[in-house]
């Protein structure tokens, strides 16, 4: 981890701490205050966007463990989210299981299904493995569509608002606190995982699985662990999505979404802790920006040809993505690190 000049370690505890300097603590506290005070000054719509951002961050963190750290390409992440969402919906509605337990079980259920589709990683990798995860996406959604006695097929399932003891998370603001808190825990877990023995093993497998095996790393079991953890996070994200939306159908977990998640991860920065967060915030806000852009353009220029303004939105979205990939192929996380480095040297560069 790069640190400001003069930061020294006096103990093992300080060496492994994520937040090291006073400035970092001040900024961290200010950030927390800012984040947790959003509901006091943001309207329902923006809180909803931030809830969606939080849920997507959790899903992308899982994908980052799988793709970014362990190098196992998965293009079926929305399918694993669906497993988590439907597990929560069924457990809370049919078995009256408390939300927190249902959340955990949803993660485990998605993780176990992920393990199943991770087994081919023993034999195949790269694009071939990607094909098996695409199969996961379609098989899971097909089952949900056709197991109508349990999932109600296209009609979907209603999901009650989450509650923990006397706290009911049924408004946008209360959902925001729940989602952001769980997102923070997931970010913390993933950041620490990357620095653990398992995290280092993942990176070794990603960089050269043959060399990793020679070093004594059990490649297959670590690949499976990555699948379990990646899909566990997808399950948690799915579970939160279900209670956020209040009603889920198979249409909420499309293949296009799985592709988008890969795009978000690449734009954010593969194999970094901050990458998924920056990528999600950027793409979700860009989506909202282009949604608001078309009516604005049409109002400002009433004489433009019909359909031009609405066609502008996807063009802007695509163009911005392409520009970022061309100018910053290592993701926004890399740009963030460059910014931090220049900030630390300011005003005296070496």
């Amino acid at each position: 981890m790069s640190l400001p000049c003069g930061t020294r370690n006096y103990s093992y505890a300080t060496d492994i701490a994520i937040i090291r300097t006073k400035t970092q603590w001040v900024m961290f506290i200010a950030f927390l205050l800012l984040i947790f005070s959003f509901p006091f000054y943001f309207p329902r719509f923006w809180l909803d966007v931030m809830n969606l951002i939080g849920i997507t961050i959790i899903a992308i963190i899982g994908l980052n463990i799988l793709v970014g750290y362990c190098g196992q390409l998965s293009i079926g992440h929305a399918g694993f989210m669906a497993v988590g969402a439907y597990t929560t919906a069924i457990l809370t509605a049919n078995f009256q299981i408390p939300f927190l337990l249902a959340l955990l079980l949803s993660g485990i259920a998605a993780g176990l299904i992920g393990l199943l589709f991770g087994v081919p990683s023993m034999r195949v990798k790269g694009f071939y493995l990607a094909i098996t995860t695409i199969a996961a996406q379609f098989i899971i959604i097909w089952i949900i569509n056709h197991w109508t006695d349990v999932t109600k097929g296209s009609m979907g399932l209603g999901v009650d608002a989450a509650s923990i003891g006397p706290l009911s998370f049924d408004s946008e603001a209360s959902q925001y606190f729940l989602i952001i808190s769980i997102t923070a825990l997931c970010v913390l877990f993933a950041t620490n995982l990357a620095r653990s023995r398992a995290g280092r093993a993942f990176i070794a497998v990603r960089d050269n699985d043959l060399a990793a095996e020679v070093m004594g790393i059990n490649v297959f079991s670590y690949k499976l662990l990555a699948f379990f953890l990646g899909c566990f996070f997808a399950g948690i994200a799915g579970s939160l999505f279900a209670q956020w939306r209040g009603h889920i159908t198979p249409e909420d977990f499309t293949f296009q979404q799985s592709i988008l998640y890969i795009g978000i991860l690449i734009i954010g920065g593969l194999g970094t802790s901050i990458g998924p967060i920056i990528g999600v915030v950027f793409i979700r806000l860009l989506e909202q920006f282009v949604t608001l852009l078309a009516p604005l353009v049409e109002r400002s220029f009433p004489d433009i040809p019909s359909g031009f303004a609405t066609g502008l939105s996807p063009m802007v979205f695509g163009l911005v993505m392409v520009v970022f990939l061309v100018l910053e192929p290592r993701g926004l996380a890399h740009r963030w690190n460059l910014f931090k480095a220049s900030y630390r040297m300011w005003p005296f560069s070496y």
């Binding site: 719509f45 296209s154 989506e287 939105s313």
Partner: protein
């Protein structure tokens, strides 16, 4: 070091105390702050202008906006009050559709309209939870069963299928026993609306469903599915999809020599001018379709004005019945506002808050009884507490020489009990 530890401890206590204070607020269910009261009534629109259903979203959306232009500029608004329109594109994306509906609530809209059943499915729960009423233009049974805050402008996709079955049995079927029907449906609420209705009502109607094949909006070949359908030797194929995939199916059916010969019919989501343009005049000739409006150019009261606006502003949609659906949606919206204004005041409705939404539903939507949409489609009635379909009638059409020709007058689309 000690100073550092004290600093950290104090910081942590401050953060924890702050978080607990904030979480305490979770117990209450206070809604988000409302925007300041504004004079004009605002109506929200969530339209799939882009994305994989844009060939429908564009004409419907432009039809809606043109009708509001007519109401505001030519008719001087409703009871002298100009109506402000707030619209957003969903890009046929469920996540955006969900946040759009919240944005429309925050913007202080009195109610909203939404074009596609897939987008409406994503918005349904948010609207139901907040009590924010909405009009769905192209609807699916799952949106209004059980009844919530969403109202369907037209009969849904399940009704199309049932109405066509009745027509087929009376006018086309010459064999004995139950005719064999195959369903080719889109794998979302558009197609599943047909499948759900077939599950509930096929036996009662006397139809034998031999196979159900699903496809995606992005499909480029349905040869596999049609080969399986051909093996089942059905008498009739019913397609529940949007124009682009329907055109692919029609082209593939022609290549497999299923047509001419087999009877093929489409639900109203796919049966539009865009289908003829995409599939071609020759291939689409003879295809049956169900549509819940009159045909473009029919001699009804509202046709000249709509034609005038369409020709002036969006020439490319002349002859497109989707534009007509959008136009009529705005006329219905105007009637809802008229009813609400009759039973409440402008100031109350213009607030666009929970109270205004409740009034809009109870004194607006529910008071619309037998409203004649200038003859452009069947009369609209939202007074039934269970049946949330506004218009309850459709027409059966056939494509002849590249034109959609009506074969029937209005046919009742009976209410199907899904529960």
């Amino acid at each position: 070091m000690r100073k550092n530890r004290t600093f950290k401890a104090v910081s942590l206590v401050v953060v924890v105390a702050f978080i607990f204070t904030v979480l305490a607020g979770c117990a209450s269910q206070a809604p988000a702050e409302k925007p300041a009261v504004k004079k004009p009534i605002k109506i929200g629109m969530s339209i799939c202008f882009t994305g994989t259903a844009a060939e429908k979203g564009q004409p419907i959306g432009q039809g809606e906006l043109d009708a509001w232009k007519y109401i505001n500029e030519e008719l001087g608004g409703i009871n002298g009050n100009k109506i402000e329109i707030v619209w957003y594109d969903t890009a046929y994306n469920a996540a955006i559709a969900t946040t759009n509906v919240k944005k429309l609530m925050d913007d202080g809209c009195l109610f909203f309209t939404i074009v596609s059943s897939a987008d409406a499915t994503a918005s349904k729960e948010a609207a139901n939870k907040a009590g924010f009423p909405g009009l769905v233009i192209f609807s699916s049974p799952s949106l209004t069963n059980p009844p919530g805050r969403l109202y369907s402008q037209l009969p849904d996709y399940g009704d199309d299928w049932a109405a066509f079955c009745n027509y087929y049995l009376k006018n086309i079927w010459k064999g004995t026993g139950k005719p064999k029907m195959a369903l080719a449906i889109l794998s979302n609420s558009t197609g599943y609306g047909v499948r759900d209705a077939a599950r509930v009502a096929a036996d009662d109607l006397g139809i034998d469903i031999v196979t159900v094949e699903e496809h995606k909006t992005t499909t480029i070949s349905e040869i596999d599915a049609l080969t399986r359908i051909k093996a089942k030797n059905p008498d009739v194929l019913f397609i529940g999809s949007t124009p682009a995939p329907t055109s692919v199916i029609l082209k593939n059916a022609y290549e497999l020599k299923l047509t001419p010969g087999m009877t093929i019919a489409c639900g109203h989501a796919g049966f539009t001018k865009a289908l003829i343009d995409l599939a071609g005049k020759d291939i689409s000739d003879g295809i049956y379709g169900v549509f819940p409006t009159v045909n473009w150019g029919d001699d009804v009261k509202g046709m000249p004005k709509m034609n005038e606006y369409c020709t002036a502003n969006h020439k490319q949609y002349v002859g497109n019945n989707d534009y007509l659906c959008g136009w009529t949606a705005s006329l219905i919206n105007a009637e809802i506002i008229r009813q609400a204004l009759k039973n409440s005041s402008l100031d109350v409705l213009a607030k666009g808050d929970a109270t205004a939404w409740k009034i809009a539903e109870e004194k607006g939507f529910r008071m619309v009884k037998g409203y004649d949409v200038e003859g452009l489609h069947g009369p609209v009635d939202f007074s039934d507490p269970v049946d949330r379909r506004g218009s309850k009638s459709v027409k059966v059409f056939q494509i002849k020489n590249g034109e959609m020709t009506a074969l029937t007058g209005w046919i009742d689309a009976p209410y199907i009990k899904y529960q």
